[in-house]
Amino acid sequence: MRAKQTGRAMRYSAFQILKQGLTGNKGWQPVWRSPEPKPAYDVIIIGGGGHGLATAYYLAKNHGLTNIAVLERGYLGGGNVGRNTTIVRANYHLNGNSEFYSHSLKLWEGLEQELNYNAMMSQRGVLNLCHSDGQFDFYSRRGNLIRAQGDDAEMLDRAGVQKYAPYLNFKDERFPIRGGLLQRRGGTARHDAVAWGYARGADLRGVDLIQSCEVTGTDIENGKVVGVQTTRGAIKAKKIGMAVAGRSSQVGQMAGLRLPIESHILQAFVTEGLKPIVPGVVTFGMGHFYLSQSDKGGLVFGGDIDMYNSYAARGNMPMMEHVMEAGMAMMPAIGKARVLRGWGGIVDMTMDGSPIIDKTHVDGLFFNGGWNYGGFKATPASGWCYAHLIATGNHSEYATKLLMNRFVTGHVLDEEGTGAHPNKH
């Protein structure tokens, strides 16, 4: 499958670790090149995050396109792919979303072998707690729809949850644990490694990864895109794909795109390293809270977005307090752990809570964004489907409903049923 290797590719293996370890670790090579931008490319991807890098990788691997540049204003993987809580799952219930995330989970399962890169993919299970009969019924229905899609889902009753996750709070009178929806194939992956693995895979196939290169304008002639202006000069391209979630409105504006998106802040937190206590991912059903434990031992958790538009990439105290309170309600033991740090990321919140992968009104310009707070698990399928769209001009069978004009036609994908309020999804 390695169509266009550059000749200096180093295959990672246990043997390689042993060999390098015994020779003073002097033989490791840079994971990717740092090329100067060429004057023209077939395809330019704006944004060197997880989705942009995955798109470049699949354009090269699935469609044989290699005259590609990924333009990144900062450094590769420096945005939300390095800021999320690393959860991978496919537990959506609407047609349009479910086949997309189902495809993504399947790609996750073979990702490390395919990329020859340790992404620490760990299918340790994702458990969504429910706290009332109504919620139990709703989750049962969701579980059935997930199974109908072909993915795994099982309902645990209270005793089942107690057996699976005995460290949770079973004495809470206000939010009693009624049961849970468990997806055993869900889990976590090392987020940075996913970006690096895709970057390496794309670079090996000849894609130019160009860092510290900010796009400052889009060149459009007669309704067709012809190139971009950047801080490192003008670069021509036949096709341009945006993958800049968080900054979609700004980059879109350069090409006259008006988007159904608000930018909000989502915070995440990590504690000091602890002995293993939480084997999988657990989410609280009475408030937005999700928790897992990293391989290093830190509890990684997060909650709601900060609720107001922001590009500050840092959160505010009330939401921090809210997240801690939800965590204490679900699992009081975490009160003994010290929080090491918290951070914020800018997320594209769409008006229905679902993403967009589509063409735009400009010929040759494509849009990928609106990932809300759930872009990480979508990374493989997002790259796969976006590459398909850019290369062929047609939507992949896994992403036929993530359309830009669904807000005009009324075919919105409102998984939570909260309406056009981005801060409520």
Binding site: Q250, M307, N316, F407
Partner: protein
């Protein structure tokens, strides 16, 4: 973050809830489909000064029209949404 409510003075962020872009004051004629789609779904989403609506939910319950910098969170102006709506002839 604190917001200086015209009725109550400076109050903690916890007392307020965010209710979206200030353009929601200007509801278009329902027969104008394009205007209604834009009203419901599309946003300027600026990185910089943003006009928005807040509700002083756990205070005087007034709707506020706030211009706030989305990069720094600096509040540039706070008015009663009612005054802004009247000013615009609503």
């Amino acid at each position: 973050m604190r917001l200086n409510c015209p009725h109550c003075g400076p109050r903690d962020l916890r007392e307020f809830s965010y209710r979206g872009a200030a353009k929601l004051i200007a509801r278009p004629d329902g027969a104008d489909m394009a205007a209604m789609v834009d009203y419901v779904h599309y946003r300027d989403n600026p990185a910089g000064p943003n006009a928005e609506l807040w509700l002083h939910e756990y205070g005087c319950r007034a709707w506020l029209h706030i211009v706030r910098n989305t990069i720094t969170h600096e509040v540039l102006s706070i008015d009663l949404a009612r005054d802004k709506a009247l000013e615009a002839g609503r």
